[in-house]
Point group: C2
Chain length 243, copies 2
């Protein structure tokens, strides 16, 4: 009998994978992972050098969407069909073999595998191995506590509307902003409007080769960082008393 | 020359430690960790069976505070003195040897070691190894994605005032509530008041022996769980479009 083991790979440095994920990855006979067409894929890159020589690989390539408006109903349908196909394929493979699905970060925390997880429920045995979330790798790279004591920590997507970003940024001690990419200018304006821009850090490729840690203020507007997260550290509300 | 290596040990299951932390723990000649007087200590328990035979251990025991009001200025001073002493001790040890400090979860995410980190800056070399935060172990144990798509995730401490808890719970998709303990009834009332109690899970000793996963509604009011986190899952705002 087969199974699907979804391995959280952590933020990027292969040494930050869990002992259990490391073992599953090294022993895998079948690995599957998402990637953009023409790219090696972030998850696959993390395990480079760890896979067995005779491993069989199943890249799941996102459909190219340059000619379809992001967020349109057509786009949503295209992605849903893609996830349906991937789930079918994995279910077939996992009926007789163990398939290790490679996922950056922690699978249950905004992970793409969850689109398949929902579709595979009750069809095959699924194990998910927790990983260090990408954001934790990033705040580790800055080298300051992201939150302490009674701090409230809010995780926001850069894809949210600017007024919602502002409102939520105003309302939190520690901030993590993911999915920055082409939303970075909006994120920067929202932080400035609530007077937190001077405290914001940008971490690009956290814990990976080519890592960059910079104050967001010092990042040029034309700069378009990859795998970037914006962080604003909490100040430790009621810190000493909160043990 | 010595150094301090603060190892994030993850949520509790020793196999969820990172490859790097596992190696540091096994090779350690000196380990230090916080614990309550009379308790083995959560961090120490995670590494049981992994430490070298001849390791030297330095438990840092929190001062007993039963006769001092929690949050009083006397209490704050007592803790500050305690952290000062611990930092002095570690700085002395680390002047000639490598000292591995054991920390549950991820050290930079509400970790007690940060009280020492601040005090040790510039005095000794400090390396911090990221770990899987306790909350990630807990949501893994529930087996559903905590957040997806454009969900906003808010991390709250149960120590906050009830009206603040309510206000912030009303305002988030996914919720993580830490430091529940004696605040659990307050947390329950706040969740009920914003109509999220029926969706809330309590995870006690997540990924550890004796783990319990229960709907918060089903937890008896007299029940006083240890190492417990309350979770409310996001529903995946704009989920398909948010890739």
């Amino acid at each position: 009998m087969g199974a699907i083991v979804c391995c959280g790979l952590g933020p990027g440095d292969p040494e930050l994978m869990s002992v259990r994920a490391d073992r599953e990855v090294r022993a895998a006979k079948h690995v599957a992972y998402f990637r953009k067409k023409g790219h090696p894929g972030q998850a696959r890159r993390i395990v480079e050098g760890l896979l067995a020589k005779d491993v069989r690989e199943y890249p799941m390539e996102y459909p190219v969407t340059t000619e379809i408006a992001f967020g349109s109903s057509e786009y949503v349908r295209l992605l849903a069909d893609f996830y349906d196909e991937c789930a079918e394929h994995l279910a077939r493979l996992a009926s007789t073999a163990k398939v290790v699905v490679l996922c950056e970060g922690d699978p249950y925390f905004y992970g793409s595998f969850m689109h398949l997880h929902a579709r595979l429920q009750g069809r095959v045995a699924i194990e998910v191995i927790a990983g260090i979330p990408g954001m934790a790798g990033c705040w580790n790279s800055v080298g300051q506590p992201i939150a302490l004591g009674d701090d409230v920590t809010t995780v926001l997507m850069g894809t949210l509307a600017e007024d919602e970003l502002e409102r939520r940024m105003r309302n939190s001690d520690a901030l993590v902003i993911m999915k920055t990419g082409r939303n970075l200018q909006k994120v920067r304006r929202a932080l400035a409007s609530v007077d937190r821009l001077a405290d914001a850090w940008l971490v690009e490729r956290g814990t990976m080769p080519g890592e960059r840690v910079a104050r967001l203020m010092d990042v040029h507007e034309a700069d378009c960082p990859y795998f970037a997260i914006v962080l604003v550290h909490g100040r430790g509300r009621r810190m000493e008393a909160a043990e």
